[in-house]
Symmetry: C2
Amino acid sequence: MEALKEKILNEGTAIGKDIIKVDGFLNHQIDAKFLERIGREFAARFADCRIDRILTVEASGIAIAVGTAPFIGYPPVVFAKKATPNTMTDGQFEVQAKSFTKGTVSKLVVSEKYLKEGENVLILDDFLAYGGASIALAELVAKAGGNVVGIGAVIEKGFQGGAEKLRSKGYRVESLAVISGIEDGRILFEDEEEIKTEDKEDE
Amino acid sequence: MEALKEKILNEGTAIGKDIIKVDGFLNHQIDAKFLERIGREFAARFADCRIDRILTVEASGIAIAVGTAPFIGYPPVVFAKKATPNTMTDGQFEVQAKSFTKGTVSKLVVSEKYLKEGENVLILDDFLAYGGASIALAELVAKAGGNVVGIGAVIEKGFQGGAEKLRSKGYRVESLAVISGIEDGRILFEDEEEIKTEDKEDE
């Protein structure tokens, strides 16, 4: 998605060798207008699928999921929670999500009422890095007896191998921008020669 | 907002004397179509204001803020975080938010880049109970030198006094549905006689 790559180059920052900071439009401050373009793009990528539900995980996945729903017929959106709220009094599906970055394991829960047997579920998130969160979300769908039609990420950090891992498990992965690496503070995209960027610190 | 009251009665559940469970359309599963009605209603309520930015707090406020932005000209949306992410390398505004329910205090942070002096900020959230989160968000705006044009809540639990507290501090509060109490499992709304509801457990 060219507009997204441009947005990442213009407004994003690379930190060190593996962190892409896009908190100006995606996961702290959100550009709600641009979110519509993201939603339309996911809708186009998965236009061949029947989608009964979108599943994501709090917090930064919520905007992506809610922003995509209007373009695929407003299926119910559900976000997995990282803790069991006091209002979740019914049964719940629970899985362990491994964070390869932090080396931690945390739980993700979804009420049993909001994932159903036989449903076609689209998993969406802002980032796909090592794939720990997506794998956990797919496990939640499996526990409910649903079917993962695909996994969509706004930004994939291709050099961290999550997409490859997911594809080897049989999942379809669609990433709107794939970053192949960071070199000297420059963000490089897959399938392309290096794109020159200026220092983003001042923007 | 009549449609919201109906939605709460039809799809919500009261637990005990003070918990309203609306996880079927607002804060776990999200009805993205209904979210547009919520957004339009906030836009109408604050139509007399210039709004430069929407501020909310993760996680369940995000859908509300993102869903409202299109109806007020797509101002930037920013959500306060409950922990400092490793990508927040610049300065940050930080306040303490008191949870009157849990008796705990937790921090809320926003990058200094995403709250600016002189801006007119609309604070939005899913629930207004004791007002702890809204007060903390207003303090963040004040730290940045901005101006709170109003505080909007989808559901106000009127019996917990948050709106009164905020209004006594001079803030304008707009709640789309005000619940005055729970009686024998029935949700009662302000300004109205009791509305009969059936047992919602089976829905």
